[in-house]
């Protein structure tokens, strides 16, 4: 990484981001060739520059967590394909950065999160992200299983973000459950 000298590298931040992700064990071996940037769709439409982000990480510069850039990655995996190195998985790195950003309470913007509300709600009440899926919704018992697996996950807190009110949230859940029950009764679930 030619813009950083050994003195201003700081591995702690990097370690936290890649520690348990074997796929990023070689991030330090990035040769700054720029192939990932050249083929990146996010770079074509925004200020997003993955080389710059990697440099910030290697310097331990945590302001990257506050910047909106990290929310522009398409997770398209193109960079991974064209990177001459092995052991560098940028989409997973981006997901880890976003996770850290969430934990610090930075991003994404509140409005962005509410856009996921409906699909999250459909998943936790019917097992699919679309309304009226092609083969009908998941049996009730299986929906309960999904709900249990997702315990304490962020997916459950979007509801609050949208409605600001836990009682309202419960009402929505109950209403949805009732509608799903009617659907199942009508369609003869065993």
């Amino acid at each position: 990484m030619h813009e950083s000298s050994d003195e201003n590298w700081n591995y702690n931040f990097l370690k936290r981001l890649v520690d348990d992700v074997d796929e990023n064990r070689n991030l330090l071996q990035c040769i700054d060739c720029g192939r990932c940037v050249g083929e990146c769709p996010a770079t074509k439409i925004s200020k997003f520059n993955i080389r710059k982000i990697i440099r910030q990480i290697l310097r331990g510069d945590k302001t990257v967590l506050k910047e909106s850039d990290i929310w522009y990655c398409f997770l398209c995996e193109r960079c991974k394909r064209v990177c001459p190195r092995t052991g560098i998985n940028i989409p997973i790195l981006i997901l880890n950065l976003r996770n850290e950003s969430f934990k610090k309470g930075y991003g994404p913007r509140y409005d962005d999160l509410t856009k996921y509300f409906e699909m999250a709600e459909r998943f936790l009440t019917s097992g699919f992200v679309v309304n009226n899926p092609l083969d009908g919704i998941l049996p009730e018992k299986r929906v309960k299983e999904l709900d249990r697996i997702c315990n304490f996950a962020r997916i459950k807190y979007i509801f609050d973000a949208k409605y600001h009110h836990p009682i309202k949230l419960r009402e929505i859940f109950e209403h949805k459950k009732k509608k799903n029950k009617e659907y199942r009764d009508k369609n003869g679930e065993k």
Binding site: L75, C76, K115, P133, R148, I158
Partner: protein, 337 residues
Amino acid sequence: MEKNKLALDIKKIEENFPNNPLEFFKGKKLCLFKACLEKYFPGVRFGIENLLEALGLEVVICENQSCCSGPFFQRNLITRAQFSAINERNLNEIDEIADILLVSCNGCYNSLLRGRDFLKIPEVKDKTEEILKDLDNHMEENKYTEQFKNFDNIDLKIVHDLDFIYLIRNEVAKNLKFDLKGLDVAVHYGCHYLNLDRDKDMETYLKNKTKLEELVALFNGKLVDYSEKELCCGWGASQLVIHPLEALKITYRKLKSAENVKASFILMPCPTCLYTLSKPEFRMKIEELFNDKLEVATIHLNELIAILRGCEAEQCVSLRRQSTRINLIYNIITNNE
């Protein structure tokens, strides 16, 4: 990256059944993974289901399968262990009723393999096991904990519809009523098929990224190359929802590039890409933003095969929904006889 045991080893099937790979699938139960976006394109499901049945294969659908949960993992709304637990739940349910799982969507396909890849990380594997244990306790069962002990040895194998159709292409070709004569076809693989790195450092059946081109030639069509062939469709793990104005630039660039070479249609193996590249609202927005009305048609491989096989008009109705100019393509193909 080491080979994912869950993926069907097509090379081996080609070696063992050189004359007719279809023989490998005879007597086996083939499950079709329920991709959420098939809802908008029922022809994607119909196309493969009807083909398999016509070839004398047994098709099953798993009632207990949920969404792959990839959209939530990609948005940091569930952890890797939760994602893997949802994946294992699905795989186990499907394993109970089927031998092979066919997947029509790049996103679901990638999720199914990725959920498994994560289990190579000891920390994620332990957490996944904990979640499944908790689930069993909660449901007063011992189902998933038991199955997880042996997760790497389940018999189920998965295959992308494109790889499957390519494998049995000669049998498919024998079953076609029409061909693509006179049509200029552009192909789009979609990022989560094209950019898979599972094949980057090794020779696997996934490595060959010319399957769509070869199928077009086999079906007598003319392949047209276009500069943005490898560009993302614009969906970008919900970039079209989060940053719609920016993401639509990518969709526009892609469609425009295919239109510039006068492609009759863009052929793809993924309903999510199809949704992005076809949705009338997106096309309208593109017209508004770039003052350019794009009309290039789009179609999923499974839908195309149904048309080429001459499926009943009513069954083909769903194939035509939501796709600009697809009626015209349909008429050209069915008049090609």
